[in-house]
């Protein structure tokens, strides 16, 4: 094999792997990404039932209903609209009423959101940023709930 042929073998191999990867990425991005929506989006954008989405907002005060079984029902609100959510399983530690939460799952035709994953915060001072942004949009953002530190000495 000449130097030129060798080089073309390597270039061909590299391009082949690269195009395989591009192909895989395009397909995966088309099918697997999940969009984030607020209750307002769900009402306004007519999200199709059965499509996998992330729904974010606050857990509505007084909405959490634990039945006798494993299923928990509550509502996610952006303070103007609320969507009922149903979830079976163990809720995250920091899940509670009035706190930010992101639920992943699907809407059914009756408008109830069946979640298979519930994400809450990792610590007390933290609000999922999508939720914070959504609340800012609604004009009900209370600012950082984090206690401000005592004035630093300069």
């Amino acid at each position: 094999m000449t130097r030129k042929q060798r080089r073309s073998v390597f270039i061909f191999g590299g391009v082949a792997v690269l195009s395989l990867a591009v192909f895989l990425v395009m397909f995966a991005l088309k099918d697997t990404i999940v969009f984030f929506h607020t209750p307002r989006d769900v009402a306004e954008k007519h999200i199709a039932p059965g499509k996998r989405i992330r729904l974010g907002g606050l857990v509505e005060q007084g909405s959490v209903k634990r039945g006798s079984g494993l299923t928990v029902e509550f509502a996610i609100t952006d303070t103007t609209r609320a969507i009922p959510v149903r979830y079976t399983g163990v809720l995250p530690d920091l899940f509670r009423e009035g706190q930010g939460v992101v639920a992943e799952g699907r809407l059914d035709t009756a408008g109830v959101f069946t979640a298979d994953t519930i994400l809450a915060k990792h610590d007390e001072n933290y609000m999922p940023p999508e939720v914070a942004a959504a609340l800012k949009k609604e004009g009900v953002w209370q600012g950082d709930s984090k206690a401000k530190s005592p004035a630093a000495k300069k």
């Binding site: 991005l29 999940v34 006798s68 494993l70 940023p129 206690a147 005592p150």
Partner: protein
């Protein structure tokens, strides 16, 4: 007082780093030995100063000095001592200080153990290393200073309970040692570009440093995965979380770099590519630091969101990466091309390894940054989850793993594929046997899973077989096998172990992904449940008290076929400060599979408790595999030929021979 001394030492370290950036590089340019000689003492002084500063901060944590802002915000007097010490890096400011401490330690190591490096190269390496230190010291002093004082407070706000775990003492230091260790490869690459020449000796110097960083990174990632597994209570070991990806991408690049540096060292080929990889590997580390520390991502690792910090780290990144890539574009064409090789050869196989590793690293990169880019450009909020990574990264790993045993048996320059296939007969038979057995015993799960498992077996068996053939196991008398096994270079053991480890990890990943059992049940005291052959008796709950938390223990007795196995006590903890609940899973660890129990909420009206159970088959193989890989790296590192002082000794020997 000690805190102020630490602050002062940090500022002094910045000054030393500035001097170390300028003088040795100037000296190398003008061939002035005195200027070049500034590098080594400066690097050592920098390490001592940053070390002083680090211990001053640690002192503030240990004595709970709540007049220091970071101590007040992240510590508590009731916190156990282990977390007072490791809590130093359990927050943004302290973790950045640890980052520069490790950076300085690597710089000083080059200064102390690099006697055999050409003077000019060493001066330039130390200069580049100091430039990185200048950037990050400026960042710490200006935008995340851990020594800021506040009016003294009576009590601290405490450390996030999720971080109060012994793993905090190990995971961040190892991960950082890996991240930052790659800075040495970067500095060597930039120094080589400044000098305009590279050779096999350059690769021989770079490889041990990269290998050391790679070992630390492997251990750091594995420990992080293990920690997430038992702490988060989700029963999973890897979530394709952007923060995990941020550490995984440098690992992929470093793995590629190790293999390409081998080609450069042995055959003087792939020079330009190796230099580029060295730059990219550290760039990905910097990007990881940016993603994790700037607060653009949402995770346990994002301690505080301060936009100034993000912009600062982004500028450092632009400066270092942009500068290095510009230098590369300018100087790389002047590097001489090396030896020729045919596509079917060890070099060819290593090129395939590099192509697949970098392309797969690219798919992880796209999946990690796409949501951020989309949010910044059009404001759409999306999440890219495990399905994306499984669909892109997974298929690219298949040819890579398939090629591992073949590539490591091919000879340099021109390989004999047919001969290699013949030598792999036994490996192939073992693999086929594993495939058949898995299919025979499989009663559920995807039909692709046995092939994945067999691929892992193929890699493991290939590693064993290559070693066996080199020592002539079963083919020669045992004393000769023993002699050969002892005579085989440590690097050969390193390669075999590392490849065996990746095969083990593959087996664990496939088994636990395909055949995990999960069940969520409501249990009243006295009731039973079963999973994967285990029977769990729920005896009720009992309160208990820890040093800075109260907890509710769920009491379970586990039995199998009527024989008691173990008592498990998963718990729900309520920490005092910060007042935050956590869930502690209870895990029965076994090589064949973990039984994983999580105690959930109480159901109203005496309905008992929600309990989540997992059985994770072979999940231990993942971390044991990573450990075996790291041990392989250490073996390789201890090889006489790779030892940092080796070229000098070889030079002495040739001098002695000449006399």
């Amino acid at each position: 007082m000690i805190t102020e001394l630490g602050h002062f030492a940090l500022v002094l370290a910045l000054v030393v780093a500035l001097v170390q950036t300028l003088l040795p590089a100037l000296g190398a340019h003008y061939k002035d030995a005195r200027l070049m000689a500034v590098g080594e003492p400066a690097a050592v002084a920098q390490l001592i100063l940053i070390g002083l500063s680090f211990f001053a901060l640690m002192h503030a944590y240990v004595v709970s000095d709540f007049s220091v802002e970071t101590v007040w915000a992240n510590s508590h007097s009731l916190k156990p001592m282990l977390y007072k010490v490791s809590g130093v890096w359990g927050n943004h400011e302290g973790s950045m200080l640890l980052w520069v401490l490790i950076l300085a330690a690597f710089g000083a190591a080059v200064a102390l153990f690099g006697d055999n490096l050409p003077r000019g190269l060493r001066a330039n390496v130390l200069s580049v290393q100091a430039l990185i230190a200048v950037a990050f010291l400026l960042f710490i002093i200006a935008a995340s200073n851990p020594f800021i004082r506040i009016p003294v407070q009576s009590e601290g706000r405490g450390l996030n309970p999720i971080l109060q775990d012994p793993a905090l003492a190990f995971h961040p230091p190892f991960l950082y040692a890996g991240y930052v260790g790659l800075s040495i490869a970067f500095s060597f690459a930039v120094a080589a570009l400044i000098e305009g020449r590279t050779d096999a000796a350059w690769a021989r110097w770079v490889r041990p440093w990269t290998l050391a960083a790679w070992v630390c990174l492997t251990l750091g990632i594995a420990m992080g995965s293990w920690w997430a597994y038992y702490e988060l209570g989700w029963g999973g070991w890897w979530f394709w979380d952007p923060v995990e990806n941020a550490s995984f991408m440098p690992w992929l690049a470093a793995t590629a770099l190790l293999h390409s540096a081998l080609v450069m060292e042995k055959r003087e080929a792939l020079k330009v590519w190796t230099i580029l990889l060295a730059i990219l590997a550290f760039s990905l580390s910097l990007m990881g630091t940016f993603l994790v520390r700037s607060g653009v991502l949402t995770s346990v690792h994002a301690f505080a969101v301060d936009p100034r910090r993000g912009v600062f780290i982004l500028s450092i990144m632009m400066l270092l990466i942009g500068g290095a890539l510009a230098l590369f574009a300018w100087r790389a064409p002047s590097l001489k091309q090396g030896g020729l090789f045919s596509p079917i050869s060890r070099e060819g196989a290593l090129v395939l390894n590099n192509v697949l590793l970098t392309v797969s690293c690219g798919t992880v990169f796209i999946g990690t940054l796409y949501p951020l880019a989309l949010d910044a450009l059009v404001g759409a909020k999306i999440s890219v989850g495990p399905p994306y990574f499984n669909a892109t990264f997974g298929p690219l790993m298949v040819p890579l793993l398939f090629a591992v045993p073949i590539g490591s048996m091919l000879s340099w320059k021109r390989g004999d594929l047919r001969g290699v296939m013949e030598r792999l007969m036994l490996t192939g038979l073992v693999t086929a046997f594993a495939l058949a057995v898995t299919f025979a015993f499989m009663h559920r799960g995807p039909w692709l899973a046995p092939f994945g498992l067999a691929l892992g077996v193929w890699v493991c068996a290939g590693a064993v077989s290559e070693w066996g053939q080199r020592v002539k196991a079963f083919a020669a008398p045992w004393d000769e096998v023993w002699r050969r096994a002892r005579g085989l270079p440590r690097a050969a053991y390193g390669t075999a172990l590392a490849h065996f480890g990746i095969g083990m990890a593959m087996i664990g990943i496939v088994a636990t992904t395909a055949w995990q059992s999960e069940s969520v049940v409501a249990l009243k005291p006295g009731e039973q449940t079963t999973i994967a052959g285990y029977t769990l008796d729920f005896k009720g709950v009992a309160p208990s008290q820890g040093p800075n938390y109260n907890e509710l223990l769920g009491l379970f007795s586990v039995s199998r076929n009527g024989r008691p196995v173990v008592d498990l006590t998963p718990s729900k903890r309520a920490y005092v400060m910060p007042p935050q609940p956590t869930t502690e899973a209870a895990i029965h660890v076994a090589l064949l599979g973990d039984l994983y129990v999580v105690l959930g909420d109480e159901i109203k009206d005496g309905g008992g408790y929600i309990v989540r159970l997992y059985f994770n088959p072979l999940v231990r193989f993942i971390w044991i595999g990573a450990l075996v890989m790291a041990i392989g790296g250490v073996f390789s590192l201890s090889d006489r030929r790779l030892r940092v002082g080796a070229p000098r000794r070889a030079a002495r020997a040739s001098l002695a021979a000449a006399e």
